[in-house]
Amino acid sequence: MPRYIQTNAKLTKLNAVLTQPRPIRLKGRSFLALALSPEMPVDDWLVQLDDLAARSAGFFLRKPIVLDLSNLEIRQDELRDLVAKLASRGVRIMGIEGARPSLLAPDLPPALADGKGTSDIEIPAAEEPSAPEAAADPVPVAAAPLRAQASMVVSQPVRSGQSLYHADGDVTIVGSVASGSEVVAGGSIHVYGALRGRAMAGTMGNATARIFCRKLEAELIAIDGYYMTAEDFEPGLRGKAVQIWLEGESMRVAALA
């Protein structure tokens, strides 16, 4: 097939999103990371860290390490210095928790939030030749809900066979969602028209996501993995403007006043 120069990037992009047969799949995943909590003065704390590292060589090597700055008053240049000093010791910081947004710069590790505590990691004894597999049996950590960020707004009908995938946040469709099409969102789904296809909200593990539509004729609706097919709808709600949400493990559908 010949390639053609694309002039209207916006529309082409939308078309690409609408028709991409296999969209880029994004999944939420939680990992066990070691959280280091530095203390002031940093230099003294680093001496202690060196002592620990001397007792068990390579304890921090190749492990995901998070810096927890919740109880630390630190300036940006000090933080940059600390990250560099840690790097020189072979400790690579994958993220920073508990820092003010203003503290972080593009050249610093990204902010992390909503970390869940697990059992304390045991520091290896001096004689132990190799580092214990701290992450061998991780306590399962519930996936933290992703913060809704970018919204996707589609101002044309979603046609049969098209798939709209937006993992980051809400999807708003000004038009109808046709039978045989699907809309998948990390956040809520708003349809200003008839919903005749499939709508899956909160797919990144967001149980508070909702689905709103002007006219309920959906084939399937799902929130956070719980789903309902057209047969499960109360007959009285079909064709009505409704909202759908999750209450515990059951889906609730109610007409919008």
């Binding site: 694309q6 002039t7 529309l11 046609r159 049969s160 066979g161 109808s176 046709a178 039978s179």
Partner: protein, 271 residues
């Protein structure tokens, strides 16, 4: 430069070929130079409906493969002298349609004709996507029933993404042609109503063709319905659709409406 129109539907048997022939003949009768192109390689029908099946020597695949010149393959209609047919091959495989070849043929036809009407095969495979690729305008032929409407919706999605116009960031002009419409059955609920179809597909309506024996009769004698019997209800509906295609604004009348010719007028033009 002529206008390239694709007549498409997704679903088979809804009246693409009939509509291609009828609209082509209607436009040609106004004096415009029209060519109808059959893209249904392997299952051609347009030659039969046009009554030219015995005059086919070369076809679209021959032209694409360089075995014949375009002028050799074009068949002039015996009744309307500005109407031409470019037939499809019945024996070749549809893989013989190459994107480059189709582009070359369409470009040449566009220069020589006012209207190039491409009769798309059913489905969403190669033949259908090639037929729509170079179009300026699309006519989506739909029957008032759910499977046809859903397939049309799918085709509209493809028209908005897989065509040259869409890839250049332009919007394809799309029109809905509702065929085989039976107002009695629609009223009974056996068929979808006009409003329902328009609401689902949300593209402007080009015309409503009533279900009629005249269409079948015309096809069987190898004549577009707009040539066989210009006074019949489907022929009048096609003539009006052809006028709307050239930019005229005419009120749309639902066929068989007992309240008279202008009883129910659709001013609606959906987005």
């Amino acid at each position: 430069m002529g206008k390239v129109i694709v007549v498409t539907s997704g679903k088979g048997g809804v009246g693409k070929t009939t509509s291609t022939a009828a609209l082509g003949a209607a436009l040609a009768q106004t004096g415009a130079k029209v060519v109808v192109v059959d893209f249904d390689v392997g299952l051609r029908n347009l030659d039969l409906v046009m009554g030219a099946e015995r005059r086919v020597v070369y076809d679209l695949v021959n032209v694409i493969q360089g075995e014949a010149k375009l002028t050799q393959a074009l068949i002039r209609d015996k009744r309307v002298e500005t109407l031409f047919l470019l037939p499809a091959s019945q024996t070749r495989d549809k893989d013989n349609l190459t994107p480059e070849g189709v582009e070359r043929v369409i470009t040449a036809l566009r220069k020589a004709f006012d209207f190039v009407i491409c009769d798309s095969p059913a489905g969403i495979e190669r033949g259908a996507t090639l037929a729509m690729r170079h179009a300026d305008v699309a006519i989506v032929v739909t029957n008032p029933e759910v499977s046809s409407v859903r397939d049309s919706d799918r085709i509209i999605g493809l028209l908005d993404s897989k065509t040259l116009k869409a890839e250049n960031g332009e919007t394809m002009e799309k029109h809905l042609l509702l065929t085989r419409y039976d107002s009695v059955r629609a009223e009974r609920g056996d068929m979808l109503k006009v409003d329902d179809v328009l609401e689902i597909l949300s593209i402007p309506l080009l015309g409503i063709i009533p279900e009629s024996m005249d269409v079948l009769r015309a096809s069987n004698v190898g004549s577009p319905v707009t040539l066989a019997d210009g006074r019949s209800a489907p022929a009048i509906a096609y003539f009006e659709a052809a006028r709307r295609l050239t930019g005229e604004t005419l009120p749309i009348v639902i066929p068989g409406d007992k309240r008279g010719l202008f009883g129910k007028i659709f001013g609606r033009r959906a987005a």
